[in-house]
């Protein structure tokens, strides 16, 4: 009954307790173990923006969210648009036209299967729960059932609000994965005298050209290793420091 105990433990701990700072307090690694996958990630949609990563097993799970944010394509964006699940149990067998920029990078990272569930209430999509695995193949029925339970329970947690959400909205908590990207967006908009939306596009374009994620590029901007001063000539690296990668 180990699986059941894990499911109970994950469900029990999703809702943050008083004193917790995160919006979701369950252990993502336990959740991944329960569902028999290598990583999980929860992204929540904002007004007009792509999903913001709120909860994940880090590493590859966070990278998968980043790279979709950078490239503007992938299962999370499809799920957010359709509010329907997207399952890709064997990425190597997808037609190459599906997520053309994303697919080669994801496969090269060793991810073989991705399962993305909507966190939804009726036809309103709040965000996504993404599972990934390095071994191809469908999600077994029991894991599928449990994944839907977790997704619905997450939707309920996100709907409920509470003090954690207020503190988060007010910027009182520091643990916001996307903070660096939005700070860098603000900085680039001043450096290049462009609106925020265009500044974010510049960051994404730079990341795309250099085979990096927007989070990595944003780190360089906030650390002032990279500047976007001149709108015509593109970004330049700061004096005396590299871009962090060749």
């Amino acid at each position: 009954m180990g699986t059941d105990n894990n499911l109970a433990a994950v469900l029990e701990s999703l809702q943050p307790s008083p004193g917790d700072t995160g919006l979701i307090s369950a252990d993502p690694y336990l959740c991944a173990q329960l569902l028999g996958v290598d990583g999980v990630a929860v992204c929540v949609l904002t007004d007009g923006g792509p999903g913001e990563l709120l909860w994940s097993t880090g590493g590859t799970g966070a990278w998968l969210a980043d790279v979709q944010y950078t490239l503007g394509q992938g299962p999370c964006l499809d799920v957010a648009a359709s509010c329907a699940p997207v399952f890709a149990p064997d990425l190597s067998r997808l037609p190459p036209g599906r997520w053309p920029a994303l697919l080669p990078e994801v496969v090269a990272t060793g991810i073989a299967a991705v399962f993305c569930f909507p966190l939804s209430v009726g036809s309103a999509c709040l965000g996504t729960l993404t599972l990934h695995r390095t071994v191809p193949g469908p999600l077994p029925d029991s894991a599928m059932t449990d994944a839907w339970l977790v997704a619905d329970a997450l939707s309920a947690v996100l709907l409920r609000g509470g003090p954690q959400q207020e503190a988060f909205a007010a910027g009182e908590t520091s643990d916001f994965y996307g903070a660096v990207v939005h700070q860098a967006t603000g900085m680039v908009s001043v450096q290049a005298s462009v609106p925020l939306a265009q500044a974010l596009l510049r960051l994404r374009a730079h990341a795309f050209r250099h085979g990096r994620t927007v989070a990595e590029v944003a780190e360089d901007v906030t650390a002032r290793r990279l500047h976007f001063r001149d709108a015509e000539n593109g970004p330049e690296t700061g004096a005396g420091e590299g871009t962090g990668r060749p």
């Binding site: 029990e12 913001e52 009726g122 339970l149 329970a153 939707s155 409920r160 609000g161 603000g186 001043v190």
Partner: protein
């Protein structure tokens, strides 16, 4: 009619059509079965508010016919009714102790005839509005631990979402905005930090220290000043000052 007032009407529509929806009933029944396994409680049922305002059993774990009989009778009392009205969970009710069942003596008597000894009711709730209740009944004298209770509430939440899921209720936008608004507000704050950092050649957190202290001192939200930073109106105001 505002959103909050539309909501019960939409809920009525759901309950009206629920009986015809095999998929949802199946799902809720499955959920009840999962609940019996996870919590080791023999009888679990999902009740929703019907158009009449009374609660109606929509799905139950199939092990226990006693539960169906218990809820088959028309009633406007019971732990679930109480839970539905108050929106708070009622746990570990000893159905044999009169002081614990004083609000629903007839229900308790029928429950005891069905060999039930312990009862629990958890609200099915979206934000402040209660749409039904998840009920657990045990033939043994067995208390739910705090952890069990949280699991049970999570399952009640899942049932709530499933019910909402099912219809296109949703153009009511149900309170969907909460998290989205929290995130959007946070994004704006971080962007403003970046803008100030660049203008002042400081780190984002240093640059934002003053607005944050100001907001704290005057107890207002940071979102509005952050928006002013973004649209440049904070600068305009400074320049226009004589």
């Amino acid at each position: 009619m505002n959103r909050a007032e539309q909501w019960p009407a939409a809920m009525v529509e759901v309950v009206d059509t629920l009986v015809d929806d095999v998929d949802l009933i199946d799902f809720l029944r499955h959920l009840c079965d999962r609940c019996t396994e996870l919590l080791d409680v023999p009888a679990v049922g999902v009740m929703l508010s019907a158009p009449t305002g009374k609660l109606q059993l929509i799905a139950a774990s199939d092990e226990h016919t006693g539960l169906l009989e218990l809820f088959a009778l028309p009633t406007d009392e019971g732990p679930c009714v109480e839970c539905y009205r108050t929106g708070t969970a009622r746990l570990n009710i000893d159905l044999r102790v009169p002081s614990q069942v004083s609000a629903f003596p007839r229900f308790a008597e029928r429950a005891r005839q069905g060999d039930f000894v312990t009862g629990h009711a958890l609200p099915m709730r979206v934000r402040r509005r209660v749409v039904g209740a998840l009920n657990l009944f045990d033939t043994r004298e067995q208390e739910l631990s705090e952890t069990d209770a949280r699991v049970a509430q999570a399952l009640a939440d899942v049932a709530t979402i499933a019910v909402l899921q099912h219809r296109t209720l949703v153009h009511t936008d149900v309170e969907r905005a909460q998290t989205k608004a929290a995130l959007s507000s946070r994004v704006v704050i971080e962007q403003a930090k970046g803008i100030l950092a660049e203008r002042r050649q400081a780190t984002p957190d240093e640059a934002f220290g003053a607005p944050r202290r100001h907001a704290r001192a005057h107890q207002f939200r940071l979102t509005a000043p952050s928006r002013q930073v973004i649209d440049g109106s904070d600068v305009v105001r400074v320049i226009q000052r004589p």
